[in-house]
Symmetry: C2
Subunit: 384 residues, 2 copies
């Protein structure tokens, strides 16, 4: 890694340099507390939020599922010594990664540990748990896992439209300018981590699309040009990198995000809800990954009636119905938003679901020529 | 679709125009036979290859799993009238798509059928079967489903490196030049269909990578520049579009393709074997989608020993072992290539599997600084 380290100082933007300093400071803060406890002859401990559904709340104003105040304290004892050491080694790895301007996936970190002698992980789930703990611990300091340079395996979706992304060569620090209007039928594949990216855009909104098939249609026919927007292909439930990309893009440019998914409990409660408020069992990270600016364009259950799609629907499966009733009973998001509860009830009552491509019934480009333009005239009608 | 049609003639490259003419000719050929049968007072029929494993062969020289000579004939009768009509309607849709320079996914085609009165499909599996039949029927005329403008839902993977892709604006026909060296940490997201793309490259080989995590490392650290290559992220078993992209790129530029996957039966027999020779149950399309120029760089079972990865392995699961013994017993590819059978036997005997990121044990960039350069010095040792 030595070669990489030498050039690392030049290779960062000023914004990245600032972020890295904050992250290093947070790591050193935790480490120093451990150190001074030991120096005083006390048992050192590490404090982190409890990661469980019982420690989650949802406040509309804040806009995402939030971690509660319950904390767990891991004190150094004979029983915790290995995990304690692993946690500190993992923090040290993070510090090294920042120093060398590099990054590691969960897998990479697990394999790196094979050199940690007694502190090595035997199985990857152990290593994942320690990483999740660290993520929760540092989320309190407003530092995300990606800022610690632990990055996901998955890419962040495909993007096209009125957007310029500014990246930097990791080794030379040279600026790289990516014009997302210049992809033809292809697209910009968002990297696994996006903290270092900068954006320039004249778009009026972001359209986050469930299926790549629909994205491909809108992209190939330059829908982004006609409606001055940025198209994002989520490809099902959006990955961490995809959600963070949309969040940063939306926040920094004050852009509304319109979600366009299938009209079924999966599209609504898994894909859209995850995009907007995050997920319950990862509440400590939703502050980074939720997209509070998101609202729901369609397909709405009412669209099936209004747009004459009845004969292009499928019956709801048992799983669909279970998913819907779970959302209505237990999901703070749907409990909070009455219009959403109503829409889901309507869907269950109709007993059918519709895919976004059902609009093809009226012609392949109907979605672009009729449906979306009509919808986009009244964004105030989109569900929250 | 009228708007689109007007500009369609300008919007094609000369190569695309030629291909489209061939496709239209093939469609009209089949349609004319049906027509003239009817005019002669005969029952018309449609002939297509039998799509089943029993009708598959593998010839090393040809380089892919090939469909055999068994044919099925669908004659117009009272029982077949609906499927017969649907097949012709689907062919007509293909012709319309070419005329308007547009495309449709399986889903789009299914929903379009809702306007075919008596010939409409009730369920999508029916529509998929007819599309598969058409695909098999036209594969005999060397026309692929993508050339019929029926395109997959999925994108074609992520690409970066020494490559320029030339695309065209679907509506204006304007050339779009995409420089795949200019993506920073991101990448070029390959579209769902790639027949219309043109390539310029000075690369010496294509590196097809199983995981996006490994791709991200090689891409961010400009491995493609150091080794003058093109990086492709397959993200597991490569999609149709990904395989076709690699195939065309490799054929047209005479580039070898080196596959880099996990060392386990899935990486070898599912990912690599599918990339190289295609799959048994879609043998009628392998002539378009297989990549005969592919060879296998690693991880090899022997790499686990040679590169001291033993403590970074996982035990083979029951599924792994079953997959391996299936490959050894039934897969024509592994039956044909003895060195492959040997390698798989060695893996089963060792009882472990290794992920490509296991190399991180020796340092995050060891793969780039040591492993790949050493391997690339002796491509003659790669398994076929």
């Amino acid at each position: 890694m030595a070669k990489t380290t030498e050039t690392s100082k030049m290779a960062r933007s000023a914004a990245q340099e600032r972020k890295d300093k904050i992250t290093i400071k947070a790591i050193e803060g935790v480490a120093n507390e451990v150190y001074s406890s030991i120096m005083k002859g006390h048992k050192p401990d590490l404090t982190m939020p409890v990661r469980s559904l019982s420690n989650v709340s949802y406040d509309q104003k804040r806009g995402y599922f939030e971690i509660g105040r319950s904390k767990k304290v891991r004190t150094l004892t004979v029983n915790t010594v290995k995990t304690f050491a692993q946690t500190l080694k993992m923090m040290a790895l993070s510090k090294d990664l920042i120093a060398s301007n590099d990054f590691a996936t969960k897998r990479d970190a697990y394999y790196q540990s094979k050199n940690w002698q007694e502190a090595k992980f035997d199985e990857q789930p152990e290593s994942d748990t320690v990483m999740d703990d660290i993520e929760a611990m540092f989320s309190v300091h407003d530092v995300s896992r990606e800022e610690l340079r632990f990055v996901p395996q998955e890419h962040g979706g495909a993007v096209a439209g009125e957007l310029t992304v500014i990246d930097r060569d990791l080794e030379s620090g040279k600026k790289i300018v990516i014009d997302c209007t210049q992809f033809g039928s292809g697209a910009y594949s968002v990297p696994s981590w996006v903290e270092h990216l900068e954006f320039k855009t004249s778009a009026k909104f972001i359209l986050a699309i469930e299926t790549h098939g629909m994205f491909q249609r809108l992209q190939s026919h330059n829908f982004w040009k006609k409606s001055q927007c940025i198209l994002v292909s989520m490809g099902g439930v959006p990955t961490r990198a995809c959600r963070r990309f949309v969040r940063r893009l939306s926040d920094e440019n004050k852009l509304p995000v319109y979600a366009f998914t299938d009209c079924d409990p999966y599209g609504i409660s898994n894909i859209y809800r995850t995009l907007k408020v995050g997920s319950g069992n990862a509440a400590h990270i939703n502050r980074f990954f939720s997209v509070p600016n998101a609202s729901y364009l369609g397909l709405m259950p009412q669209d099936i009636i209004d747009w004459d799609l009845k004969d292009a629907t499928h019956k709801l499966t048992e799983i669909d119905v279970k998913r819907a009733s779970d959302a209505l009973k237990n999901d703070p998001f749907f409990l909070e938003h009455k219009p959403w509860a109503k829409a889901i009830q309507q869907l269950v009552k109709m007993g059918v679901r519709a895919e976004q491509q059902a609009l093809s019934k009226h012609g392949l480009n109907f979605v672009m020529d009729e449906y979306l333009p009509a919808k986009l005239k009244k964004p105030e009608l989109f569900l929250p």
